[in-house]
Subunit: 211 residues, 2 copies
Amino acid sequence: MTVQLYCFGESGNAYKCALALVFSDTPWQARYVDFFNGETRTAAYRALNPMGEVPVLVSGDEVLTQSGSILMHIAAQTGKLGGSTKQEQAEILRWILWDNHKLSTQIGTVRFLMNFLPAEKRPEGVVPFLQGRLKAAYTVLNDHLAARDWVVGDGPTIADLSCCGYLYYPEPFGFDRKDWPHIDAWLDRISALPGWKHPYELMPGSPADRT
Amino acid sequence: MTVQLYCFGESGNAYKCALALVFSDTPWQARYVDFFNGETRTAAYRALNPMGEVPVLVSGDEVLTQSGSILMHIAAQTGKLGGSTKQEQAEILRWILWDNHKLSTQIGTVRFLMNFLPAEKRPEGVVPFLQGRLKAAYTVLNDHLAARDWVVGDGPTIADLSCCGYLYYPEPFGFDRKDWPHIDAWLDRISALPGWKHPYELMPGSPADRT
């Protein structure tokens, strides 16, 4: 069965799920969400996902939202990328929650403010504040990867895919891979996996379409 | 076996877990973390939790961090508060992730900036920006609770405990229960459950101790 992923190129949260579908060999189709023209605020979209967010995964009768839930679902369905012991599964959940709590949420906001919002609408002070908090998060991840190749266990899991979701984007948001050598090497390991593609190649839509 | 929860009164993330321990009849002890004097930045604390966060649950040889992981662990261990079907379990995970992504993270930051940081250190512009984002999150939760008593299923689960974690605190952070009638009624339902206590009564430490 082919699943459908509601996504758009700029969404790092959708990208996490697209990578999981690719790396788990799940047949999937991208369904483009016209986020920048307000599709997620329409009644039709809210009927699909009352939280109003991207991504959404439609798999037969099932409609899943929240990238972390979708990642866990893909791992459970395919038996891939989900760790091999109960302890690894618990660690994976912990890192996905951490990513949602401390990493991706704040990168998404900073990147949006710096790149996708007209400068005159950008609220004063928010970007440097969130960048300060993000520095603490990059430190935690970089230190964690100092002595290990993957976030959990001995191979790639959905924990890696959750944490890397925003880190391949070219737009500036205050993250330079050179400053974080262990994150840098880990991103190289992920992008060397068979089937890996850059977000703007894996999903429809990119800033180039709007210029 | 008595578990140990590293916590302090002001931590809404710890409060979620303390409530889950109470409502699941799990014997527990509070281990006070002196957050405001820097304990979470010490080497000893980082050895316990490299993410540097509160809460931590110590259960025999297991050390768990991230409130969402701890909540899932308590539900799995006790068979309580975890929903009764696979679909409910998936919904619970979805709402815990949403809470981590959109609700508790941002309330925690706003509440800290408005109440626990000296006014001269408060960055300009951040509070109104995050309050704007929180209004969208309160709307999602309030609408969800319009036609139902609990976040998932027909009774209280860890999804309720995750989402309510910061909403009983008295310090101002831009949330007035009167503005959100369905959230208000739901908070009354939770606080009517046997054993419920206010965060400053359930866990050691409160602003009153520092005045």
